[in-house]
């Protein structure tokens, strides 16, 4: 009986030593996954995920503190991409963080703006132009639609408008009659 215990003990000890040596030689530092997660996030810096921006949310996901379905602007495609990267199952968007909305742009109603610069400080990407006691306006191209400027505005003169569809950003639609029997393939009138 003793022979068995000793034999297995020796075998376990030897392999333990070998593994210890291999662990030292094959150490891995840093974790490039955070960069990859940050690249998938929509960078609206809106904080709807409960973190102060996209980068902190990415770090939280990498560290496992946050779930992958807390980003409404990223929407369904964002969650699927994150699930694919991290090898997890895609989950529906967490309603507590807000619902997925079409892309919006903030617009300042210039009749009511009093030039208090509170929205300028709140905007995470400096997309609002203006100075103290001067008229403010939103740079439509830069605005990510994060809605952080709406709350601080004392006169509530900022509202969100969907991005208008022009010939430049019009897109062909998904063919309707996929494999159904309806004869023709109707092009959905814009």
């Amino acid at each position: 009986m003793w022979v068995a215990v000793i034999a297995l003990g020796v075998l376990a000890g030897a392999s333990g030593l070998m593994l210890g040596f291999a662990a030292v030689r094959l150490r891995v530092e840093g974790d490039p996954v955070v960069e990859k997660i940050d690249a998938i996030l929509p960078q609206t810096q809106c904080g709807q995920c409960g973190f102060a921006g996209c980068r902190p949310y990415a770090e939280a996901i990498a560290a496992g503190e946050a779930d992958i379905n807390q980003c409404p602007p990223g929407g369904e495609t964002g969650i699927v991409a994150l699930a694919e990267l991290l090898g997890r199952d895609p989950k529906p968007l967490n309603p507590e963080n807000g619902a997925e909305k079409p892309k919006m742009v903030a617009v300042i109603d210039e009749r009511n703006c009093i030039g208090c610069t509170l929205c300028i400080q709140a905007c995470p990407v400096d997309a609002i132009l203006g100075a103290a006691k001067h008229m403010h306006t939103v740079i439509a191209k830069e605005c990510t639609g994060c809605e952080l400027c709406i709350a601080p505005c004392p006169v509530d003169c900022i509202y969100m408008t969907p991005i208008a569809q022009t010939i430049a950003n019009w897109k062909w639609t998904y063919p309707l009659a996929d494999t159904g029997a309806r004869g023709s393939v109707e092009q959905a009138a814009a």
């Binding site: 068995a4 034999a7 297995l8 075998l11 150490r27 996954v33």
Partner: protein, 194 residues
């Protein structure tokens, strides 16, 4: 001698395929074959582990268990050897390609519990293979496993998008497909013993 080894390879890869004829290693077969890249990564990792552990199992059995008459400890010793090899593989994979390490996730350490690995070791002993034969046997089993998994992954990537009835989507259609695949493999029945 040569065609005896060739026979071992042909038998383990096609005829007595570990997954579709012997029904071993089904959990990673089902779990990791969702995407082709991860299936290939898993195939590679399993080939590395299976070949190495077949060899180590043979050495442990030949030079440690039989001289000391401890044949009854065979299963525990083999599991220990396999666990060591898997741990080593996990470190290598984590070092060489973190993306694959991230994608495989839990299934990499799970190779330890993969019944194909232990089965290969035990069957080697049972068939009294010599050193080269057991290495080839392990290698052939792993190649068979990886080949079928890669083919299955490519099929699943096509089926996941097919117009499958709602109730059969996901694991249901995957199981049916695996069943039909083993139906096809039954064509080899009776080809080669072992």
């Amino acid at each position: 001698m040569i065609n005896e080894y060739a026979l071992i390879l042909l038998s383990t890869i096609l005829v007595n395929n570990y997954v579709l004829v012997k029904f071993l290693g089904l959990c990673p077969f089902m779990g990791v074959s969702r995407k082709l890249e991860t299936a290939m990564g898993m195939g590679l990792a399993t080939t590395f582990v299976l070949t190495l552990s077949s060899i180590c199992a043979y050495l442990t059995d030949h030079y440690l268990l039989i001289p000391l008459g401890l044949e009854y400890l065979r299963t525990i010793a083999f599991i220990l050897v396999i666990a060591v090899v898997v741990q080593f593989t996990e470190m290598v994979v984590h070092k060489t390609s973190p993306v694959l390490y991230q994608a495989l996730g839990i299934y990499l350490p799970l190779i330890t519990t993969n019944c194909a690995v232990l089965a290969a070791a035990l069957l080697n002993v049972q068939a009294r293979h010599d050193f080269i034969a057991s290495a080839l046997y392990g290698f052939g089993a792993a190649i068979g496993f990886s080949l079928v998994m890669v083919l299955f992954a490519a099929m699943r990537e096509r089926i996941v998008v097919a117009d499958v009835p709602v109730h059969f989507r996901g694991p249901a259609i995957t199981m049916i497909t695996a069943g039909l695949m083993s139906l096809a493999f039954m064509g080899f029945a009776g080809l080669v013993r072992g």
